[in-house]
């Protein structure tokens, strides 16, 4: 017998997951937040900790934040230059 077809929309499923995960984050203790920050090499007690970027300090925007991973004209020129250099002086050769 075929399994019943799941008629639920992805939005419904996503909303459930997000709401449940929201509850998990609300339950997270300060110690858990500190541990997660430590995993990332962040020291939350430091003035100017990166964890507070966008909250206490302006968020630093990078090119990829706006244009994704698409290479720009500058990137391709840089790549050309790198390729030319590598062709001239192959790596690993003394």
């Amino acid at each position: 017998m075929r399994p019943p077809v799941n008629r639920e929309w992805p939005e419904t499923r996503l909303a459930r997951v997000v709401q449940a995960l929201e509850g998990e984050i609300l339950e997270a203790t300060d110690e858990e937040i500190l541990d997660a920050a430590r995993d990332l090499g962040m020291d939350l007690s430091m003035r100017g900790s990166a964890a507070f970027l966008g909250l206490k300090y302006p968020l630093i925007r990078r090119r990829a934040d706006f244009f994704g991973d698409r290479p720009g004209p500058g990137d391709s020129l840089g790549q050309l230059a790198r390729d030319a250099l590598e062709a001239k002086e192959p790596r690993g050769k003394d």
């Binding site: 939005e11 996503l14 998990e24 984050i25 609300l26 997660a36 995993d39 507070f52 206490k56």
Partner: protein
């Protein structure tokens, strides 16, 4: 006379809102990080023009301006998280109506209609992609993936434990790993 810092005034609405919330004692620094993680979670699947910063700033503004009054029995962080959730729903609804209006060319009629029972295919695709993205976060942890699958089905904690054959200790331990992973994801600075 002190000159205004135009850069701060023009480009830092969230920083100003969160600093005000901190100064007023509405939230602590740790709460800010919780809210950042929650805002990043709720921003998943929203149109690219809407970032987590926009959601969080709007939530702060609604509380700070008194547009939303906090019930005394609800902690401020939970209240702000609830606002983030409703903002997310608003954006989803707007995206769905926008798509419907674009298809039919009847923008006003579409906006007046109640929420459609069948979502827009584009919204469904975005939601499905975000579900996959969330699952990818926990790709290394099959137990957490089972919990996520159960949550998506709307199962209770007990049902998930029974389906996955997990003891209470295993379940709680998986939840701790899940929280840590989510917090790591939320604390990073990358824009999603």
């Amino acid at each position: 006379m002190a000159r205004p810092n135009w850069q701060l005034q023009l480009f830092a609405p969230l920083e100003r809102a969160s600093q005000t919330a901190l100064a007023q004692g509405l939230v602590s620094e740790m709460d800010l990080l919780r809210l950042k993680t929650i805002a990043r979670l709720h921003a998943r699947g929203l149109p690219p023009a809407v970032g987590w910063e926009d959601l969080l700033q709007e939530a702060f503004m609604r509380v700070l301006t008194g547009a939303r009054l906090q019930p005394p029995q609800v902690p401020p962080v939970a209240f702000l998280a609830g606002i983030l959730r409703s903002l997310r729903s608003e954006h989803w609804r707007r995206a769905r109506h926008g798509a419907a209006a674009g298809e039919s060319g009847r923008r006003i009629e579409a906006a007046r209609e109640p929420a459609a029972s069948a979502p827009d295919p584009e919204c469904s695709l975005m939601a499905a992609e975000q579900l996959v993205a969330i699952e990818r976060l926990f790709a290394q942890d099959p137990v957490v993936l089972e919990i996520i699958a159960g949550l998506a089905e709307g199962l209770s904690a007990e049902q998930i434990r029974n389906c996955a054959g997990l003891s209470k200790t295993e379940y709680d331990s998986a939840r701790r790993r899940m929280r840590r992973c989510l917090l790591r994801e939320g604390l990073t600075c990358a824009h999603q």
